[in-house]
Symmetry: C3
Subunit: 154 residues, 3 copies
């Protein structure tokens, strides 16, 4: 019997957590776009220097790295290092039939840690705060992966 259906409450938890994380990931791209448009700089490609609707006032330096924009790119990179692994691992976790309580703690724990990580990164909180939130999310994915291996191999 398949556990990957909406009849399985654990799969529903996964679907909610995963959809929120996908929105987080896509939203980070739009934060970069917003920041590039706002400061009218931090572009990535030489052709972005051409005048047009997006770049109405081409001038030297628009391709230089700019921390306001680079911060959003670093946040995106940090997401890419964590969220796709969660999306794949969460599905496997559902397939090995964990308890509903454990699934909710781990999956919403991951979602919470990544959302607060985003807030902490955007508002330039200390490295300790960011590291703690990163650690929570990372350990949750590691726990899920080990749980899958143990469930499968035993």
């Amino acid at each position: 019997m398949s556990l990957l259906t909406m009849d399985n409450p654990v799969f529903v938890t996964y679907a909610i957590a995963a959809a929120i994380m996908v929105l987080k990931l896509m939203g980070q791209g739009w934060m970069t776009v917003y920041r590039m448009l706002k400061i009218d700089a931090g572009w990535a490609s030489p052709e972005d220097m051409r005048g047009g609707l997006i770049n109405r006032n081409p001038r030297p330096g628009q391709l230089d790295p700019n921390d306001y924009v680079e911060r959003s790119r670093r946040m995106h990179r940090n997401d890419l290092e964590n969220i796709p692994a969660f999306l794949a691992c969460g599905l496997l976790f559902v397939a090995v039939a964990p308890s509903y309580l454990l699934a909710n703690i781990l999956m919403y724990g991951f979602v919470g840690s990544r959302l607060v990580h985003t807030l902490a990164y955007a508002t330039k909180q200390s490295h300790e705060v960011r590291a703690t939130l990163y650690t929570i999310g990372s350990i949750i994915v590691i726990v899920m992966a080990v749980y899958v291996l143990v469930a499968v191999v035993w």
Copy 2:
């Protein structure tokens, strides 16, 4: 009943779209390899400066960023910011049983927007063209994620 089987035409659409996007993603790595080999530069690691089958003529500057190669890396990064989210979100979308027509529009719409985005980026089209294609793909993933949340929570 599982919707994640080949008996479900929506899953078949997902499988085709996802397999094409995986090939796109892997192909981008090979475009970077091709460009590095063609200009014999743009290497990333100090040890790549050692002579060998790949680097027959080691010389200073081979590790410097080179736009011909960096462009392919930027295209790859743009893919990584969009395609894995689509792959995970598309599967969830199948699981909430959307209409066949809607699934085809969204999934092949995503595939089309990303393939044309690749072409536009490689041929240095204006930022406006690239941004439009990026926007189409991004909004499709966002629509699918919101659709999943609405279907699950309602």
Copy 3:
């Protein structure tokens, strides 16, 4: 009938391979953390220069790129360019019912090539060694994607 269950030995192979690859991916983040802490440099964000538990001795230059740390980031990037595509494509591959032997060869072949690639990158083996291992992993994902397309379209 769903093939994405633990009753299907091919899915079990996928679950083991995917869980190992998720651990590899998360572990790479920790290698970067370990290296940043060990050399007390290679930080990424301006706020990491503030003194605290992580940075007990703030000094100029801690934000400069440092190859010891950048190597781990390049390894991570290389993983991100390959592993998420494998995770998605492997699931599709299970769904088109390949032979158990073929699935084991391809999936454990991918896992092996990526683990040895990690070792080769960390120990600064020649570009030829790294390229060979990258190629094996990449071709395996491409083969799986083409197999899915052929199985679905035929």
